[in-house]
């Protein structure tokens, strides 16, 4: 797959090696032709030196490609899957302590904008459910420790707004610590921040919680989407509530930021660079899948204006990084880190994992266990509830998980011919229909385009500052490993 950076340099993305290299005309002919020996003649007119180099280079590339990871083709058995989960999975137990929320954020995945997902309800998880799930998780950790003695487990609290069931969170933490003192687990929580009072802040800090606060930027940006049921903004409350945490210099508090086509990226840049604002751990646009209608609120002009601002922000970032490396800003997060991911997170060649899904970038179900308020187990908090992997009464159903993986594999119809497979970052959640996966040929309309744009940008950045993508990625992931055991996926 060919692409071009802003400087006009052409590169070739090699889908087997997972890396790109600069192109010259004759090399391009060689790469696009299937038969190397035949096309050697085509470039006879080329400069002799180039011809020699190119044909040798092609032979080297061919040799390197032989190291590519071979995915197992055979049927996945429940026994194999269980062993693999005991070895590589079980990184987090996430308890959805309530389906209720005191906010009505406009892009919320449980809102009317997402017809395929559950809707908010007043349901709360009870202690009996939480305790059963915790006991089961602990038993799996016990069984799994001989497969991975170095695992770092974690227990997460999720919602709705988990602080609406703060009582249960407290119960769970003390139950866990008293019953399983030998398990050194990280506690995590994702909250909208509006219910954090001093008592809750102190509790969370006392138990070294990794606290993820939803924060979308300065007041005007945040309040456009993050609102109470009466439509009023939540910004002032959130900022006031996190003060004790920020003032205490508490390290494990971070921001999850969602932006949209109306966002002023320069305003976000200014805001998130302030010392009193928590560092961003994740940033994204609202999920466009799961029947999403959120984007219908934007006009064509909105979208075009957004693209312009984004391009301007990218220019300004590139200008800046020519002179300084590792600027550690909001733009680093959206541009630098993106480049770092593209250049360094793609598992080139043999990647050391024994994973069995050849395409997309999805996890092993069982890497995390998400428990809904009724005690059903799911692959993660992002996937809709029609793909359960069983429940607190029976434990994980490995046969069912194997079937989900098989089903998923069989729906990746477009992927074998995809020219950017290695860069793909799509997962189960993006393919989830109602109880069945949607084939990649239906889902994946724009991904190629986005991934190639990502490549163009990554290489533009790297041309301007060759060490920046790796520095940013290294800084980010090292930090991320202190606040999350699943590297955020």
């Amino acid at each position: 797959m060919k692409f071009e950076t802003q400087s006009g340099t052409k590169y070739w993305f090699d889908n087997i090696l997972g890396i790109s290299f600069p192109l010259n005309t004759s090399l391009e002919i060689l790469l696009t032709s299937n038969d190397v020996t035949d096309s050697l003649e085509k470039e006879a007119a080329d400069h002799q030196r180039d011809a020699v180099f190119n044909s040798r280079f092609m032979k080297k590339i061919e040799k390197a490609r032989q190291y590519a990871h071979q995915y197992p083709k055979e049927q996945i058995t429940p026994e194999h899957l269980k062993r693999q989960i005991l070895r590589e999975g079980l990184l987090q137990l996430t308890l959805s302590v309530t389906e209720n929320c005191n906010l009505a954020c406009r892009y919320c995945c449980y809102s009317d904008e997402y017809p395929n997902t559950r809707t908010p309800s007043h349901k709360m998880m009870n202690f009996e459910t939480a305790r059963t799930a915790i006991d089961y998780y602990a038993s799996l950790l016990e069984e799994g420790k001989r497969f991975n003695p170095q695992r770092r487990p974690s227990v997460g609290f999720y919602g709705g707004e988990p602080l609406l069931n703060f009582q249960l969170i407290k119960q769970c933490v003390s139950y866990f610590k008293e019953t399983y003192p030998e398990i050194d687990a990280l506690f995590t929580m994702t909250t909208n921040g509006t219910l954090l009072d001093r008592e809750k802040c102190e509790f969370l800090m006392a138990h070294d919680f990794s606290i993820a606060i939803s924060l979308d930027g300065p007041e005007a940006e945040h309040n456009r989407n993050r609102v109470y049921h009466d439509g009023s903004g939540t910004f002032a409350d959130v900022i006031k509530n996190i003060r004790p945490i920020m003032d205490a210099g508490y390290k494990n508090c971070h921001a999850i930021c969602v932006f949209d086509w109306k966002s002023d990226l320069f305003a976000l840049q200014e805001f998130f660079n302030r010392a009193e604002v928590p560092r961003i751990s994740f940033i994204s646009l609202p999920n466009p899948n799961d029947g999403c209608t959120f984007y219908q609120r934007f006009s064509r002009e909105d979208y075009e204006k957004f693209l312009k601002t984004e391009a301007k922000a990218f220019q300004s970032y590139n200008h800046q990084i020519r002179h300084s490396a590792g600027v550690d800003s909001f733009f680093d997060q959206i541009f630098g880190l993106q480049a770092g991911r593209i250049l360094y997170s793609v598992p080139a060649l043999i990647d050391g994992t024994s994973f069995m899904i050849p395409y997309t970038f999805t996890c092993l179900p069982g890497r995390k266990i998400y428990v809904d308020v009724d005690g059903n187990y799911h692959i993660c908090e992002r996937i809709n509830h029609t793909f359960p992997i069983c429940n607190i009464r029976t434990g994980l159903d490995f046969a069912r998980i194997a079937k989900i993986v098989e089903d998923y594999r069989s729906h990746l119809d477009l992927c074998p011919s995809c020219k950017v497979q290695k860069l793909c970052n799509i997962c189960y959640c993006d393919f989830a229909g109602t109880g069945e996966f949607i084939p990649s040929s239906k889902i994946c309309k724009n991904s190629n385009h986005d991934l190639i744009k990502g490549l163009e940008r990554a290489f533009t950045i790297a041309e301007n500052n060759p060490s920046l993508p790796e520095t940013v990625a290294q800084g980010y992931y090292t930090w991320l490993s202190t606040i999350s055991t699943t590297m955020g996926d």
Partner: protein, 379 residues
């Protein structure tokens, strides 16, 4: 005009000179001081102002190429470095030595019990002057299960004379069937018979220890323990099924062209080896030894560095509680050995920590090398 090395070619700087590692062809090209400066500038995207024949030659040999603009060369690599920032990954064990016996009625002059230094002693058998009670069969089985659950790749059964514990060996070989991708058994040639060969067939590969080159056969792996000079070793080295285990009383007795100290210790490189050597020790990495009395050691020859005992805790517990201890040995890449830190060959060189430790008395010592890092010459 700019010149850049290809994705698969890495420039590694030393104190004085440098080396280009070609991870596909496997070559390790040495550069002198001038060439080092030149390529270093090229790699830093400094524009070329003069014609450099060296660069033409490199292009010809497909090591690098000219570019009209500043390009970014994405390097060929194995895996994703981002995974390395993720703690809590399951440990990977590549090989384990199981020393299931510490007795022997032979009395080889080079046996470990005589404190003799050998360059590949780990592949042969040894007995040790150590006190203690041997592990029982059940305990060995628990070790084997533990290794299998940790996805250990290869297992080496060693002793002592294993024919003295033949029944135990048989039990354990049966038990280990299908659990590992390779199983080896070390045995002295004087104990290796047609019967032994028949029994091992399909179950384990014998490594036969000989001290007379005349006893080297063709159908098994041999380990020749010897103090012969390099000229002699050169003639027999070509046989694929032979490892030379050089006796080393003292570094100074080795001839300058000995494989252990001369330029010939620098090996070919490849994607795997290069990636490995950047972070890990060439042979200690991802390896462990369970001694006859249950001690877990970094290698069969490093007797003084116990990482715990399987009599007290299962292997996985030791790996959890003493992960720093294991990491210390596994992560002992040559870059961490003071003598090698600034040497450009540090990702292609060989190293036996046990031998160096024994020669220098220092776990980070280095006696076996004739490369002068500061002046870039082999002396």
């Amino acid at each position: 005009m700019y010149f850049r090395l290809n994705p698969e070619c890495y420039l590694i700087l030393g104190e004085h000179s440098s080396v280009i590692y070609d991870l596909i062809e496997g070559d390790v090209h040495s550069l002198n001081e001038y060439e080092t400066q030149l390529i270093r500038n090229c790699e830093n995207n400094v524009e070329l102002t003069t014609n450099e024949p060296l660069l033409d030659e490199m292009k010809e040999r497909c090591i690098g190429n000219y570019y009209t603009t500043k390009v970014f060369i994405e390097k060929l690599r194995l895996g994703s470095p981002i995974l390395d920032y993720q703690p809590g990954q399951p440990p990977f064990i590549e090989k384990a030595f199981l020393e299931i016996n510490n007795t022997c009625k032979l009395s080889c002059g080079f046996c470990g019990s005589r404190h003799i230094r050998r360059s590949s002693g780990c592949l042969g058998c040894n007995t040790w002057q150590e006190e203690g009670t041997p592990l029982e069969e059940e305990q060995w089985k628990e070790v084997i299960d533990g290794l299998s659950d940790l996805h250990c790749d290869s297992v080496y059964f060693t002793g002592g004379d294993l024919t003295l514990k033949w029944e135990l060996l048989q039990q354990l070989l049966e038990y280990a069937q299908k659990k590992f991708s390779q199983t080896f058994v070390s045995i002295n040639s004087r104990r290796f018979s047609a019967e032994v060969a028949d029994y091992l067939e399909g179950k384990a590969l014998p490594i036969i220890q000989v001290d007379n080159p005349a006893h080297i056969g063709t159908d098994h792996q041999f380990l020749l323990v010897t103090d012969e000079r390099e000229e002699f070793l050169k003639q027999i080295r070509s046989s694929k099924n032979l490892t030379i285990d050089r006796l080393v009383r003292d570094a100074s007795e080795l001839s300058p062209d000995s494989r252990l100290i001369s330029k010939s210790k620098i090996q070919k490189t490849n994607l795997f080896r290069f990636t490995h050597m950047k972070k890990k020790h060439p042979c200690l990495a991802n390896s462990l030894t369970v001694s006859w009395r249950g001690e877990v050691l970094p290698c069969p020859m490093l007797r003084r560095y116990s990482l715990g005992s399987v009599k007290e805790q299962p292997l996985y517990e030791l790996l959890r509680k003493n992960s720093e201890g294991f990491d210390k040995f596994w992560g002992m890449c040559l870059e961490k050995i003071p003598r090698c830190t600034a040497c450009e060959f540090r990702y292609a060189c060989n190293d036996c920590r046990a031998l160096e430790e024994s020669l220098t008395g220092d776990l980070n010592g280095k006696a076996l090398c004739r490369y002068d890092v500061s002046n870039g010459i082999w002396v």
